[in-house]
């Protein structure tokens, strides 16, 4: 089955600094890729997704991610973070034609003033 590796379990950054949360996937077929966010004491919600087309995907709250097929990566970026971006971020993958979605272990982003 497909799998996801999030290379950083915790990422502390200062407010207004740029951030990159790394995600690599493994699959033998074409995939769809997702980033979900879980704010403290809340459920998971979709941040952005890549299905096809442009490899640069823009999501909510100023986040974007780039699909790199050759490196099997889908890293999440934001040029300037806010305190309110403090949350757990999960990368996920499904194989095309399959609804089975697998998640990475998550990256806890902590934004400091």
């Amino acid at each position: 089955a497909q799998s996801v590796t999030q290379l950083d379990s915790q990422v502390p950054v200062f407010e207004e600094a740029p951030v990159e949360l790394r995600c690599n996937y493994s699959s033998s077929v074409s995939v769809y890729l997702f980033w979900y966010v879980q704010y403290p004491n809340q459920g998971l919600q979709l941040l952005l997704k890549y299905l096809s087309g442009s490899t640069l995907v823009k999501g909510i709250n100023g986040f974007e991610a780039e699909f790199n097929k050759s490196q099997t990566s889908f890293h999440l970026r934001k040029p300037s973070v806010h305190i309110s971006d403090t949350a757990e971020y999960f990368c996920a993958v499904t194989e095309k034609g399959n609804n089975d979605m697998r998640f990475g272990a998550g990256t806890r982003l902590t934004v400091k003033p």
Binding site: A1, Q6, Y32, F34, Y36, G43, L44, Q45, L46, K49, L51, F90, T94, N99, D100, M101, R102, F103, G104, A105, G106
Partner: protein, 113 residues
């Protein structure tokens, strides 16, 4: 309903007791997923349903865990003879077939004492 509904939202049970967790997906969603999130851990895939069938049960941690879905709608996750290591948040999610974006419920917090 407007979103994925899970019940109970919180459950404290004694070690050795059986528990049932219920998930009511978004109306019309054909795919339904169960994940487990332990404290400080990522999302652990348990099982997913396409309609009433479960193509992949490999994520269930042991034979004490079982799940069913009837009528292509409500699903029940049952844990028999609960153990302390079963304490976690059990998350349910659903999606349209082929649409791939999945929507999460708020989770059922299970504490085994």
């Amino acid at each position: 309903g407007a979103g994925v509904s899970q019940s109970p939202s919180n459950k404290v049970t004694e070690k050795g007791k059986d528990v049932e967790l219920r998930c009511d997906p978004i109306s019309g969603h054909t795919a339904l997923y169960w994940y487990r999130q332990s404290l400080g851990q990522g999302l652990e895939f348990l099982i997913y349903f396409q309609g009433n069938s479960a193509p992949d049960k490999s994520g269930l941690p042991s034979d004490r865990f079982s799940a069913e879905r009837t009528g292509g709608s409500v699903s029940t996750l049952t844990i028999q003879r609960t153990q302390q290591e079963d304490s976690a948040v059990y998350l349910c999610a659903s999606s349209y077939e082929g649409r791939n974006t999945i929507y999460f419920g708020e989770g059922s917090w299970l504490t085994v004492v």
